[in-house]
Amino acid sequence: MADDALAAKTRSPRAVVWARRRLSAGRFWATYRRSVMGIVGLAILVVFVLVALLAPVLVSSDQLDVTKATGPILEGPSWAYPMGTDDAGRSVLALVVWGSRVSLAIGLLAAAVSMVVGAAVGIIAGFRGGRWDAALMRFTDWFLVLPGLPLAIVLAAILGQSMFIIVMVIGLTSWPWTARIVRSQALSVRERAYVERARGLGARDPQLILKHVLPNLFPVIFANTILSIAAAILAESALSFIGLGDPLRVSWGATLELAFAAGAPTIGAWWWIGFPGACIVLVVLAFTMCGNALEEILNPRLRQR
């Protein structure tokens, strides 16, 4: 407390705000560190993100080219090909390494789209209240009834297949859940004293939202986004598996589609299916564990569980 008072005298208000945020970030990390799930999830993610970033260094992209593949055809894991090879003699490991870039990128971008739309709808509904709230939530409930993946499939089938379209399609079919959660939080922030006070001092709504509501909702939105990344990666894999992925990019789902189309399940080429799928499971699991750990910290009522 004394430090705060001192800081207020010697530093600009902005610096004080930042100092406080740094402090709370430090406290946040200290709490997060205690969650076993959170740490395990984070560790898995760090590994996958590193692999995705370093893919060009780890594996030459030539290995993805069917015409340049040199490996034996459909062979199980060996020292030379730790994850075996596909029916064109490509290393499944190479496919998995490069696939991580596409799968993670689409997951992150689609979750970002969903977050922006969901948060905007949720904040406006919760903060403005009244008719805005009623109208926007009715609209959100309508969208909740539209089954997400089938809608994404239809959209992708009509609009065509490119990474951009996949991102938009997944993002725009998954925002209603975010909107609902953000709204309920925005409702409670609105009631808090400092917002009342700021409004009393003449602050306008956009200003209020940017300076007071958004920073307070940020943790909730963040945790929710982490969980949406998991859902988006699953959605991408399903779209690709159906054959609606970007045909020019090798994602994990696309590799699984190829494997299925080549009859891998019936010829018992388990490695071709097992490894790319295991990567999806691990990454989705990791995002879910991190998201749950974050939610648990943010929502003390959950912490008891």
Binding site: D141, W142, L144, V145, L146, P147, G148, L149, P150, L151, I153, V154, L155, A157, I158, L159, A230, L234, S237, A238, F241, I242, G243, L244, G253, L256, A259, F260, A264, P265, T266, I267, G268, W270, I273, G274, G277, I280, V281, L282, V284, L285, T288, M289, R305
Partner: protein, 326 residues
């Protein structure tokens, strides 16, 4: 009294949502595509003659202004007139749809019953004895299977139980060209359905477990549970008569919404097991770009979720006296 007003209000809301669904369906296929005529009157690999295309186009009203197309679409939909399928020439979309519907109803119905019963039971047990081995195990199980793409789990089960062990057939609805009848046919169908049902059930138990567990934990923290315990009521009665009954309420609407996920899961699972249901039909429609068929299928999926929501609302009013008042 209040009960009927509630039901009427819910029916009205469902009606409005239905109109929204129809509008979205119209918009998706008739307005959004850059060339809806081409989209709806062509098919991969098959070129209609210009005359045939024009005829189809006028039959669907594609040559008219958007508002009048919209009205015609609504009327056609109410009359279940979705035009003819491309994949199955000469057959109406409705007749194709009906042929593929029953296997899906059987598959999704069986799996849904199983996942709800098992998931809710685990959720109740887990929430009641939180942190015990059963709870911790269910939690890990739920997280793991939630993270699995349904089609991947399907392929893994296929490799394991069909390819490697040979316990179950690799796909289809029943053994083709067999003239099994009666019980042996039922067993044959069940044998084919086993792996798809297992996949869906395993994949979605976790959702129900988590929903039930968390609402049960909420209820167990309520004051009235303390009252009931104070009365000296036996613990199993506290759980089943009071806690579970109250915890069902928030679960019901979430269960209805998650029905959409199960339907979505059925699409890829049917693909993997070449199970001749609506999911497989949808994938054929995508592959052959039969958009009239796809439109009808999407409409059905939305309707299924809408109806399950409506049923949930009605069940809710039956269980919870409070909503009747509101």
């Amino acid at each position: 009294m209040g009960e009927w007003r509630y039901v009427a209000r819910k029916l009205l809301q469902a009606g409005v949502t239905l109109l929204f669904i129809l509008t979205v369906n119209f918009f998706l296929f008739r307005v959004m595509p850059s060339d809806p005529v081409r989209l709806l009157t062509r098919q991969r690999g098959v070129q209609l003659t210009p005359e045939a295309q024009a005829a189809l186009s006028s039959e669907l009203g594609l040559d008219r202004p958007i508002p009048s197309q919209y009205l015609q679409y609504l009327v056609d939909t109410v009359r279940l007139d979705f035009g003819n399928s491309f994949i199955y020439p000469g057959q109406s979309v409705v007749s194709v749809f009906l042929r593929y519907m029953w296997p899906t109803v059987l598959l999704v119905g069986t799996a849904t019953v199983l996942m709800i019963v098992i998931g809710l039971y685990l959720g109740i047990r887990g929430g009641w004895k939180r942190g015990r081995p059963l709870d911790v195990g269910s939690m890990g199980f739920s997280l793991l299977f939630y993270s699995m793409p349904d089609f991947w789990l399907a392929m893994i089960l296929l490799i394991l139980f069909s390819t490697a062990l040979g316990w179950f057939p690799s796909g289809g609805f029943e053994t083709p060209d067999s003239d099994l009848t009666g019980l042996s046919r039922v067993l044959d169908v069940a044998n084919h359905m086993f792996l798809p049902v297992l996949t869906l059930t395993l994949g979605y138990i976790g959702e129900y477990y988590l929903v039930m567990r968390s609402s049960l934990l909420d209820v167990l923290g309520e004051d009235y549970i303390t009252t009931i315990r104070a009365k000296g009521v036996r613990e199993d009665r506290v759980l089943w008569r009071h806690a579970v009954r109250n915890a069902m309420l928030p679960s019901i609407s979430l269960i209805a919404l998650s029905f959409g996920f199960v339907l979505a899961g059925a699409i890829t699972v049917e693909l993997v097991f070449s199970y001749p249901g609506l999911g497989l039909l949808a994938i054929q429609a995508i592959d052959y770009q039969d958009f009239l068929l796809l439109q009808a299928l999407f409409l059905f999926a939305s309707l299924a979720v809408l109806v399950s929501n409506l049923v949930a609302d009605l069940v809710y009013s039956w269980v919870d006296p409070r909503v009747r008042e509101a």
